[in-house]
């Protein structure tokens, strides 16, 4: 059985966290450049230029893209033939986060009421899926609080139309307004159950930005939602414009005959996702 050292997991998580915070993905930079071409608002274009320049400074000087270096969400695809040696998976991941955040902002409190900073940005939120194979794929998504706070979930009737779901998403975007730091990337989970829809919404954010779903009908729905969201006029930083979202990504899953869960996970333009397979 192939062995993967826990220390290797720690190193990988640490590297991914730092890369994510300093280097905005090329897919996001391309999406911002495309937005700059189609944005009509002058203030909006200036904001997009600031964001592109910000990404250049961050990468060059190894500075965090955003001061909110986030609560780290970790997606692990664990090959069922692999065996982790020399430590526990959760501890290895959190050790990696702790090392990565020594000189980054620590944004995690130990208790929702007592609110004492844990001082090393742990614990991370860790999602594990067991997959075929003998390797581990690790994805990290440091998630800022502003956009996360604008997220929402609703249990629709199973007879609901696509239009009702589109209206709900548009309404979420308008309610969030500038708070979620538009232009947004919107992750949507449809189906599953209450909790799984939220997981899918977050998982949808790990797809390459602007890459539509492989299923034609879902890809169409993504395009239609993006169009409707961009009609709101919210624009960059909510100051008005044509580009409110850069992309809408949807993931779906089978669900109960009585249910149609829909979760919307908002992501700001400072979309920091990096992955590696070991």
């Amino acid at each position: 059985m192939p062995e993967i050292a826990a220390s290797k997991i720690t190193e990988t998580v640490c590297d991914l966290c730092r890369q994510a915070n300093f280097e905005l993905g090329e897919d996001v930079v391309d999406a911002l450049n495309h937005a700059l071409k189609i944005e009509e608002s002058e203030i909006g274009r200036n904001i997009l230029r600031e964001l592109i320049k910000n990404a250049e400074i961050a990468k060059k000087e190894k500075l965090p893209i955003c001061q909110d270096t986030g609560l780290v969400v970790v997606f692990i695809e664990l090959g069922q033939e692999a065996r982790i040696t020399g430590g526990l998976l959760d501890e290895a991941v959190n050790e990696g986060v702790s090392r990565a955040y020594r000189d980054l902002r620590k944004s995690v409190v130990s208790d929702p009421f007592i609110r004492e900073n844990t001082n090393d940005n742990t614990p991370a939120i860790i999602h594990v899926e067991i997959v075929p194979g003998d390797r581990i794929k690790i994805g990290v998504l440091p998630k800022g609080g502003g956009a996360e706070n604008a997220s929402s979930q609703k249990m629709f009737l199973p007879t609901a139309s696509k239009e009702e779901i589109i209206n709900y998403v548009v309404n979420c975007v308008e309610t969030a307004g500038p708070k979620a730091c538009p232009p947004l990337i919107i992750g949507i989970g449809i189906g599953g159950n209450f909790d799984y829809s939220a997981y899918l919404a977050k998982k949808a954010l790990t797809r390459r930005v602007k890459q539509n779903h492989s299923n034609h009908d879902i890809a169409q729905l993504e395009k239609q939602m993006l169009e409707e969201v961009n009609k709101t006029g919210v624009g960059p930083m909510g100051l008005g414009g044509r580009v409110t979202a850069l992309a809408v990504h949807i993931e779906t899953h089978p669900c109960h005959i009585a249910s149609l869960p829909v979760a919307v996970n908002m992501e700001c333009h400072a979309h920091r996702y990096k992955e590696a397979t070991i």
């Binding site: 203030i43 904001i47 600031e50 909110d68 000189d103 902002r105 502003g146 307004g177 500038p178 008005g240």
Partner: protein
């Protein structure tokens, strides 16, 4: 682009209109949720508060605006004591918007997530209260050419509402 000295005087405030793009230079105080809840132990007369929690660095790391509306429940008493400006992201409550007009203050929006770029405008930073709050400590910073947009002015102008109305398609 208007050059604006901070702290603010009345003449400067009278000239600022919602939608103006400005470059701020001078002293800002940095405070966010936890410091607002405890009370900001600084004389804020004529001063500008920047709602932010920076990353570590010298003189500072990355620093960008956080959501201003979370500070709304604490803002009116500060305006009564002479606070003249705030920098954050997002819209404010109707009450705060009205109070900004009444107490002749201004609310600036800075670009959320442009924190590496904004950090470059900071020349010095010192903790003035609550060091134990870490990223939520109160700081005094000196900035040069810090870019922002006038979101609310003393005339009731609202750059968010006006901007969105212009681009909204039914």
């Amino acid at each position: 682009m208007k050059n604006v000295a901070v702290p603010l005087d009345d003449r400067t405030i009278n000239d600022l209109k919602a939608g103006d793009e400005v470059l701020l230079s001078g002293t800002l105080y940095v405070a966010r949720d936890a410091a607002h809840k405890r009370g900001i132990p600084v004389d804020l007369k004529n001063q500008v508060l920047f709602y932010a929690g920076p990353t570590p660095g010298k003189p500072i790391g990355s620093i960008g605006p956080t959501t201003a509306s979370r500070m709304d429940p604490f803002t009116i008493p500060l305006l009564q004591k002479g606070l003249k400006g705030m920098i954050g992201k997002g819209a404010r409550s109707a009450e705060v918007k009205e109070a900004i007009k009444k107490f002749k203050a201004v609310y600036f929006a800075a670009t959320g997530g442009a924190a590496a770029l904004l950090g470059k405008t900071v020349r010095s930073a010192e903790v003035v209260a609550y060091p134990e709050l870490g990223p939520e400590a109160v700081l005094k910073i000196i900035v040069v050419n810090f870019p922002a947009i006038v979101a609310y002015d003393i005339y009731g102008g609202d750059a968010f509402a006006e901007g969105v109305k212009k681009y909204r398609e039914a």
